[in-house]
């Protein structure tokens, strides 16, 4: 693993307990707050926020293992290293912040951040995918 990827991986592992904290908060709301159980939209979006934060951070960690092997310039490697964690923050943040009010019946405008996060993730995925395919071709040409 390159030192750059290792640095990002270390930061991600330090950030990951915040997802645990969020999960614990949602669990106590589900158990102890009757108002939370009645607002379906808020439950849906907060559950989605927690799930996406966890899964996308794990995806970020896995992407770091692949990016060092990809045929990409150092600048494009940084695009991959940063796109995944940025998306893992933007989209869950949108899910949480768009229904902060317990009475919310529809999400506020911050929900659009979820789409921004989705686009950022897609950029990271496409860049990494192309980098992995290019690696195969250059390896064959060298052989």
């Amino acid at each position: 693993m390159s030192p750059q990827s290792r640095l990002v991986a270390g930061i991600l592992l330090i950030v990951l307990p915040t997802v645990e904290f969020g999960g614990a908060s949602i669990l106590s709301l589900l158990i102890g707050d009757p108002g939370y159980a009645q607002n379906d939209l808020r439950q849906d979006l907060w559950r989605a926020g927690h799930a996406h934060a966890g899964v996308w951070l794990v995806l970020s960690l896995v992407a770091l293992r692949y990016v060092d092997e990809a045929t990409l310039s150092e600048g494009m490697k940084w695009v991959v290293r940063l796109a995944f964690p940025t998306a893992a923050i933007l989209t869950p943040a949108a899910f949480f912040l768009s229904v902060l009010s317990p009475q919310a019946t529809e999400p506020n405008a911050l929900i659009y951040l979820a789409y921004v996060g989705g686009v950022v993730l897609a950029v990271g995925l496409l860049t990494l995918g192309v980098g992995l395919i290019r690696e195969r071709r250059t390896a064959r040409e060298l052989a």
Binding site: D44, V62, R65, Y115, G118, G129, L132, R136, R140
Partner: protein, 136 residues
């Protein structure tokens, strides 16, 4: 063609289609068209399983590289896993189209079948990892 180079690229690019599904699901949840509770449940299950299992496949390929298997076996195991993931999560979407609440359908059969493929692929990896450890 090395399987542990090509297959991860397939998984990474497939994740974009999972994103597309999530975009549609968010639309349903926030009011643009209603799916109803039954369909929403299975849409969520399909979306979540596809996403998590594709991340699992990326971890799988990293470990597949550490086994002593030939490229042919690696192609077989990796493709088995990807086919299992498509079937397991795709079955939920078939079920929400064809199925009825509290009843099995073609979709749930496909989901169960996919889960068996995933289990077989995981078993092949585990055997390969144990075998390479003994040799090394």
């Amino acid at each position: 063609m090395q399987p542990t180079r090509v297959l991860p690229a397939v998984s990474v690019l497939s994740l974009i289609s999972v994103e597309y599904g999530g975009w549609a699901l968010l639309g349903f949840l926030t009011g643009r068209g209603q799916l109803g509770q039954f369909r929403e449940q299975f849409f969520r299950a399909g979306h979540a399983h596809a996403g998590v299992l594709l991340v699992l496949s990326l971890v799988y390929f990293l470990h597949l590289d550490r086994t002593g298997y030939s490229d042919r076996v690696k192609w077989f195991a990796g493709s088995l896993l990807l086919a299992g993931i498509m079937a397991q999560s795709g079955g939920f979407f078939i079920h929400l189209g064809l199925g009825q609440p509290n009843r099995s359908s073609l979709g749930t059969v496909v989901t169960r079948f996919g889960a068996l493929l995933i289990a077989a692929a995981l078993a092949i990896l585990a055997v390969g990892l144990l075998g390479s450890g003994r040799r090394g």
